[in-house]
């Protein structure tokens, strides 16, 4: 009797514990993977950046031996490596250029795709094609592609005079803006954006999806209230839509930074993977790069989270 009571009480008390155990069960595959596979690989990679792998012969068989080199490779990357620092800065520049463009573009398209319009289903289907096919192999095809890689070139660049000349004639636009006396940097930025539209569309697929999801989750009654109060579409966007999806902007900003940095066509990534120095050099450069990425993500998340508006949930 006494025993039975005890068991019962213990069971009752451990409901939370049982829930926690169930939680551990569900995340177990990932945690095990981290411990058994990911961490060893990670440590190995970090280790390699401090050591040099020297070929030796043990019992007549060629193997390798590691010799400690300390921070030598890290120093090398900064001081002696021909243009690691330049490429790193170029990567950052690319990022500064790309992140706002991708965010603004995907937000704009998501807002438009969220409206009722003729052929919306067809447009949606077309706009999400890049999500599916613009990674990996197709990305390298796009990158290496003269024919259609940059839409600016038009089909059969160079050999076919009549068809070349991009969407926008850079010089023409620049002249137009200069005569309007708008700052030079702004002009080059906008023009390069327009000519880079193909890449920007390709990079903003997932972001578009996330924004669209955010827009769909804003309840209609808020918009109805706005209409009744006589707000214009412009006001509604800035006073309602924008704050409501600002958490999505944070998510997308971080995602875009990650995506842009880890993409293999990224200036810095392709420089490192193509560098002729040894593997230890590469590893060291990658870890420096990773440090910079982390820093940028912290900064971006910090900036974005200052203007994020969280709807209070009851």
């Amino acid at each position: 009797m006494d025993k039975a009571l005890k068991i019962k009480r213990r069971r009752h008390a451990s409901l939370d514990k049982r829930r926690a155990r169930a939680g551990y069960f569900f995340v177990a595959p990932f945690v095990l993977g981290i411990i058994l596979i990911y961490l060893p690989i990670l440590i190995d990679s970090i280790w390699l950046s401090f050591y040099e792998e020297l070929p030796i012969i043990v019992d007549g068989l060629p193997t390798t031996k590691l010799e400690f080199r300390g921070l030598q490779y890290y120093k090398f990357a900064f001081t002696e490596s021909p243009d690691f620092v330049t490429k790193l800065l170029a990567g950052l520049q690319q990022l500064v250029f790309e992140v706002p463009a991708v965010i603004i573009f995907s937000l704009f398209i998501a807002v438009v795709l969220n409206q009722k319009m003729l052929g919306r289903a067809a447009f949606r289907a077309i706009f999400f094609v890049p999500v599916i096919i613009s990674t990996g192999l197709m990305e390298s095809i796009n990158g290496a592609d003269i024919m259609s890689g940059s839409m600016g070139e038009g089909i059969q660049d160079g050999t076919n005079g009549e068809a070349s000349g991009g969407i926008v004639d850079v010089l023409m636009i620049e002249n137009l803006f200069k005569s309007m006396a708008i700052g030079g940097e702004m002009v080059t930025y906008v023009v390069s954006l327009v000519n880079d539209i193909y890449n920007i569309i390709n990079y903003s697929g997932v972001q578009m999806l996330i924004f669209l999801a955010g827009l769909q989750s804003i309840s209609d009654s808020i918009y109805e209230a706005c209409r009744i109060d006589g707000a214009t579409g412009w006001e509604t966007f800035w006073k309602v839509t924008f704050p409501m999806i600002s958490p999505m902007i944070l998510v997308n900003a971080v995602y875009t930074v990650i995506d842009s940095f880890t993409r293999s066509s990224n200036v810095t990534m392709s420089y490192i993977s193509g560098s002729a120095n040894g593997d230890s050099h590469k590893a060291a450069m990658y870890w420096i790069y990773f440090g910079v990425v982390m820093l940028i993500i912290a900064v971006v998340a910090g900036i974005a989270s200052t203007f994020v508006f969280y709807q209070r949930k009851d």
């Binding site: 569900f26 990932f30 398209i109 447009f123 024919m147």
Partner: protein, 352 residues
């Protein structure tokens, strides 16, 4: 469409009936329509709708045009490629590029292999991401946040950084062993010191998928976690009250309702694995008993690799045709799955 909607509410005076009678008596239909246009903002709306439509059409064009150009190019002969008078429609349409790629690059073999690989990876990744996402979303336990941080960390660490170590790990596969430290792991000891080389098999990718560590799995886990957070707790609570266990609740109640989201994740996982060149290029290096995969389709076949004036351009056309052949199965899949793509994300409750 918009015009019809807006042509109704013009006459809104106090005594409706009286005005309407006057109105119809005085003006002809054309004049009445004119009045309506003047009074309402129909014109502005019409211009906005038109502008929006043209803009969408333009962006769609930017997306679709490369495919049109590639399809056009894929039917061209060598002469057509450098012919200045041809922009899209070839003068001598031919299937030689397709034939060469399909035969010399072992296209169907590559499709078959990649299909097994991608299907296996996508199914495993979907299920694992679902489990982990559910665990992170619905259970309070010590280290929940740490696990979430680790998920994000696997997303942020560039896989290029791990490239060499990944290869080292899977050519001498073992559990919880750091290759650089040099001591043999459990598997090596069990096999009597013989290293277990998993390269040139599907095993490395399946193993990575099984532990939720493969390409972009962090994103899938994150998406599913956000989705499950949006599922009301009451649903599970009522199941628990009815005597259903955690696992049964998960499989019978939660899984069926998350099917659109799962399809979204499956689509991502499948197509990103399909076009992957990082892992396939890393693990499949052997030329003997070669496993043909999608990156091989992308090569220029030997019979088309001829020196002539438009060589660079022609190789480009050939590679683009390879690209078309690579994505053709994906496009078919996308046509079936695209409505779930938006639906799944829409219901994900990503806000907050």
């Amino acid at each position: 469409m918009e015009m019809n909607n807006n042509s109704t509410p013009l006459i809104k005076k106090d005594s409706k009936r009286k005005i309407r009678v006057d109105y119809e008596g005085k003006m002809s239909l054309v004049e009445r329509l004119k009045e309506k246009f003047k009074a309402s903002n129909t014109w502005i709306k019409f211009v906005v709708v038109l502008f929006r439509f043209i803009l969408m059409l333009g962006v769609s064009f930017v997306i679709v045009y490369p495919f049109i150009a590639r399809i056009a190019g894929s039917f061209m002969t060598r002469e057509d490629v450098i012919d200045a008078t041809i922009s899209l429609i070839p003068k001598h349409p031919t299937l030689e590029i397709y034939k060469a790629i399909i035969v010399e690059n072992h296209y169907f073999e590559a499709v078959f292999n990649t299909l097994i690989l991608s299907l296996g990876c996508a199914v495993i990744q979907m299920l694992i991401a679902c489990l982990v996402g559910y665990g992170l979303a619905k259970f309070k336990f010590k280290g929940n946040k740490l696990v979430m941080l680790l998920v994000i960390a696997t997303m942020i660490i560039p896989h290029g950084a791990l490239q060499l170590s990944l290869l080292r790990h899977f050519t001498n596969f073992d559990l919880a062993t750091v290759q650089a430290w040099g001591y043999p792991g459990i598997i090596q000891l069990l096999r009597g010191g013989v290293k277990l080389n998993l390269s040139n098999t599907f095993a490395p990718l399946f193993i990575l998928s099984l532990f939720g560590l493969a390409f972009k799995n962090g994103l899938y886990i994150y998406l599913l976690r956000q989705f499950f957070k949006g599922v009301p707790d009451e649903l599970e609570e009522s199941a628990y009250v009815d005597g259903s266990g955690t696992l049964r609740t998960f499989f019978q109640i939660i899984l069926p309702l998350s099917i659109p989201m799962l399809i979204t994740v499956f689509l991502f996982a499948f197509s990103w694995q399909w076009t992957d060149e990082f892992y396939t290029g890393l693990f499949f290096t052997s030329t003997i008993n070669k496993v043909y995969l999608m990156p091989d389709v992308f090569q220029v076949p030997a019979s088309l690799n001829v020196t002539y004036a438009g060589e660079v351009l022609y190789k480009n056309v050939v590679q683009n045709t390879g690209g078309l052949l690579i994505i053709a199965p994906l496009i078919i899949l996308y046509l079936f799955g695209q409505k779930y793509l938006v639906q799944g994300i829409e219901r994900s409750g990503l806000v907050g």
